[in-house]
Symmetry: none
Subunit: 143 residues, 2 copies
DNA sequence: TATTTATCCCCCACTTTTCCCCACAGTCTA
DNA sequence: TAGACTGTGGGGAAAAGTGGGGGATAAATA
């Protein structure tokens, strides 16, 4: 399970170090792809494959299915860590997530998310005030 | 499985390089055809044949079936890669997809899509805002 | 039928990108 | 304080993408 928050830099070549605590779980090969709030998702292979299976069940004749599949699959890249434990983020994803230098890598249970630091801070502070309302409707019963 | 996003140029002769990562999957001969959002679809032979079988199951007495089959089949061309790993896109498809120079080639699971770069950016940015909503309604249950 | 025009392929060469390796610096631990 | 680990930066080799030239084949015109 992925938990925690780490602050790393992405260099000019588009490389960023995966926190060493995550490498044990991820192994040496995994998948990164576009995430929904302009961040980057990092999935272990089997988790990613599970989602792909679900998406392949959707017909390409449906507009939303095409759009989301395109969004999710076109952003995906199979990743191998280099000897220093870094990943090479493809340009399109760097642009999409608006990564400049300072990045935040957070664990969210079954995946990692890579955010531009500024965007992350902004998102979190904008959410904090509403969190009470957000939580309100998540569950009907005691969890 | 096709994933990822690549930016290549189409030259004056109508040739465009297929990203080398895709060539392993596609092999040397495959099919390209008209795609739904004014892009070009690229299918491995057996995937294409599978779709054709499905389309042949539709009655030609239905207007929509005729229209879509005509759309999909008339655009199709059998393709062979040249020795440099490029395909020669037929003029009608170049016109249809509005390809000028900068193109985007994306993997969307079972096929590739070739887009004019500008058109692709436009489509993606128009989707990005809605992606949260689109995802919202794709599945009812946990995937 | 002969000549021209266009199209398609293949080959060569240049440029750019990607990947791999090495080296250094800061931090934590023993 | 020494050693190991983690994060950061850069250089060089290999691969991938791009563009143009030339020859073969096919279509078009006189």
């Amino acid at each position: 399970m992925f938990i925690g928050e780490f602050h790393h830099n992405i260099d000019d070549k588009g490389r960023i170090a995966i926190p060493s605590k995550y490498r044990d779980i991820l192994g040496n090969s995994f998948v990164i792809t576009r995430g929904i709030e302009h961040c980057i998702y990092v999935y272990p292979n089997d988790t990613f494959n599970h989602i792909v299976t679900k998406l392949e069940g959707l017909p390409f004749t449906k507009k939303d299915a095409r759009a989301f599949t395109r969004f999710f699959m076109s952003g995906a890249t199979a990743i191998e860590l280099d000897k220093q434990g870094r990943v090479n983020i493809p340009r399109p994803l760097i642009t999409y997530a608006n990564l400049s230098k300072k990045c935040v890598i957070v664990g969210t249970g079954d995946r990692l998310e890579i955010w531009d630091e500024e965007a992350f801070n902004e998102f979190m502070s904008s959410c904090n005030d509403e969190m009470s309302d957000i939580a309100e409707n998540l569950f009907e019963e005691k969890i």
